[in-house]
């Protein structure tokens, strides 16, 4: 399991930059970022190297932030890998809420970040099927 931050932002010009400026000013490194938008607002999901510190700083700057866990899975860079993973999750009858990827990892293969209705079970099912599920330390490095 890894930690991810979700930030509520209004769907307005400059709103995402408002979040990244706080991170930049405090030397927090982003590992992955994905934004999910509606016409009125967006949720910015991030994986950072110092999640607790980032949450505190964003709160101080007036953002609503939620820290939660997500499953991160190593995926080899070859056709069919994502499909194999999704089939495994589907076969276990687990619904996926969202998915995004961490590509930047020095010398390591990319990670897929997945949120489902049951994280524990997802992690177990994937490991049983030969996937490598990453931990927070794997993200920081």
């Amino acid at each position: 399991m890894i930690k991810q931050l979700s930030v509520f932002v209004q769907n307005e010009i400059g709103s995402l930059a408002g979040v990244t400026t706080v991170l930049k000013d405090n030397m927090i490194n982003l590992r992955a970022i994905a934004s999910f938008d509606t016409p009125e607002f967006a949720i910015l999901r991030m994986v950072v190297d110092q999640p607790e510190k980032a949450k505190t700083l964003l709160n101080e700057n007036g953002f609503a932030v939620k820290m939660s866990e997500a499953v991160a899975v190593e995926l080899e860079d070859k056709p069919g890998e994502l499909d194999r993973m999704l089939q495994t999750i589907a076969a276990a009858k687990l619904g996926i809420n969202y998915i995004y990827s961490i590509v930047v990892r020095s010398g390591k293969i990319p990670l897929m970040v997945i949120n489902t209705e049951n994280l524990e079970k997802t992690a177990v099912v994937l490991e049983q099927n030969g996937f490598i599920v990453a931990e927070q330390e794997d993200v920081i490095a």
Binding site: S6, F8, V9, Q10, S15, F36, T38, E40, F41, I43, R45, N59, G62, F63, A64, V65, K66, S68, N97
Partner: protein, 432 residues
């Protein structure tokens, strides 16, 4: 046409004498039938015998919307329930409605007043009038309806909510008159224009009210539709639509002074204003049976003139409204208080009670957006949860104020906090 020349063209002395005689009777009746007023008069040390004419009017206590609310629902009624033939209600400031009642005679009085308004606008038995105010607890629909029937016009009870049907019937039935809010009439005009049907209507006259509008808006309506438009004013506490209206000279709204005494007071000092000076409009009912009120504070700001009008009427005229002495908004003809929004939000745990109301007019229809801050402790990172929350808030607000509301979730602490009275409303509607 003057519907009731005897009453609408009396000399000022005759008006004063009639008002005095009616006031004395009314005070007696109220003192003996309404405990609230009896107690209030006793506290002030006055008896019915102290009121000998309208010169004594200022001895009587004021009445506010809060008094009506505190006596919810029927506490201020002056007749037994068996004599009440109709109830109307409007939204109150904090959830509880303001309830008004009518006896058979009150309904007749209302029909008389509305018939005077319609006749003043040139409407008669030969006309077909579409009543496009809401029917129901709101006084607009049924008030105009009964008045138009009394006049002998053919009433088409459209109510609100279906512009296409209204236009179809306007064309097919050859409607010659319409009663609705001025902004809705502009919307109808634009819809007719887009359909290329504006030259096919038989409309001659419109009776508009239930929201503030300007002379410019009147001229725009008149030019677009090639009709004459008139202003009607009223409030359910006093009667409903038909307390006052303007004539073809558009130099203020004639108040039916044989039934209602208007006063203009300074809302701070409560002292009377001079003729022509802007202050808060206050009404005392003279003939209402079910709900007679002393010096009811309307919170509407206006001035008054007692000069005889060019139309021949001698009734006092109140000028177009200059605003309100409270924070009430009129949105699509519905009275809305910011406190209603606040009360509704306080009942929803997931949001903070900080909010901003943004009122706008898009295509001549009023819109209301309410911005609400997301509370961090309830912030979900799932879009479907947040959308569910948005819907839940919109539903609660619509229940509270009776209007569709667009809810926008905003970031925490982005709504201005202020030390004193927080700014809760941005009204972008331009009443030019």
């Amino acid at each position: 046409m003057i519907w009731n020349e005897t009453k609408e063209c009396m000399s000022r002395d005759e008006i004063r004498n009639l008002q005095s005689a009616r006031l004395v009777k009314m005070v007696n009746r109220v003192y003996h039938n309404v405990e609230f007023y009896r107690k209030k008069m006793q506290e002030m040390g006055i008896e019915p015998g102290d009121i000998n004419g309208i010169e004594d009017l200022s001895k009587l206590p004021f009445t506010t919307k809060e008094d009506l609310r505190n006596n919810y629902p029927f506490g201020l009624f002056a007749v037994p329930q068996s004599e009440i033939v109709r109830i109307h209600a409007s939204s109150g400031t904090t959830g509880k409605a303001t309830v008004v009642g009518y006896t058979r005679k009150d309904i007749a009085l209302w029909q008389e007043c509305v018939a005077r308004v319609l006749a003043m606008a040139g409407i008669g038995p030969q006309d077909k009038i579409q009543v496009a105010y809401g029917y129901g607890l709101f006084t607009g629909g049924l008030g105009l309806h009964y008045g138009a029937e009394n006049l002998g016009a053919t009433v088409i009870p459209m109510s609100t909510g279906n512009t296409q049907k209204l236009i179809t019937m306007m064309l097919d039935f050859g409607a010659t008159a319409i009663a609705c809010t001025p902004s809705y009439l502009l919307h109808i005009a634009e819809t007719l224009e887009e359909a290329g049907q504006i030259d096919n209507i038989k409309l001659k006259v419109a009776i508009c009210g239930a929201e503030p509008w300007t002379d410019n808006m009147r001229r725009e309506i008149e030019q677009k539709l090639h009709i004459k438009a008139f202003d009607i004013y009223g409030l359910s506490e006093i009667l409903g639509p038909g307390v006052a209206a303007d004539c073809e000279y558009h130099k203020g709204l004639h108040v039916y002074e044989d039934h209602f005494i208007p006063e203009i007071i300074n809302p701070e000092t409560l002292e009377p204003c001079r003729e022509g000076e802007v202050g808060e409009l206050v009404f005392t009912t003279l003939t209402k049976e079910a709900l007679p009120l002393f010096r009811y504070r309307t919170k509407d700001l206006t001035s008054i003139s007692y000069d005889k009008c060019e139309c021949g009427r001698t009734l006092a005229r109140i000028s177009r409204f200059k605003g309100r002495s409270d924070d009430m908004l009129i949105i699509r003809g519905v009275n809305v208080f910011p406190s209603q929004i606040e009360t509704a939000l306080l009942e929803i745990a997931e949001v903070s009670p900080h909010y901003m109301m943004i009122v706008d007019r898009i295509n001549n229809l009023d819109t209301l957006e309410v911005q609400v801050e997301v509370e961090e402790r309830f912030f979900s990172d799932e879009i479907k949860e947040l959308e569910g929350l948005t819907k839940k808030i919109a539903h609660a607000l619509q229940n509270a104020i009776g209007l569709a509301v667009k809810v926008k979730l905003v970031e925490p602490k982005t709504i201005e906090r202020s030390e004193g009275k927080a700014k809760r409303v941005i009204d972008k509607r331009k009443l030019i």
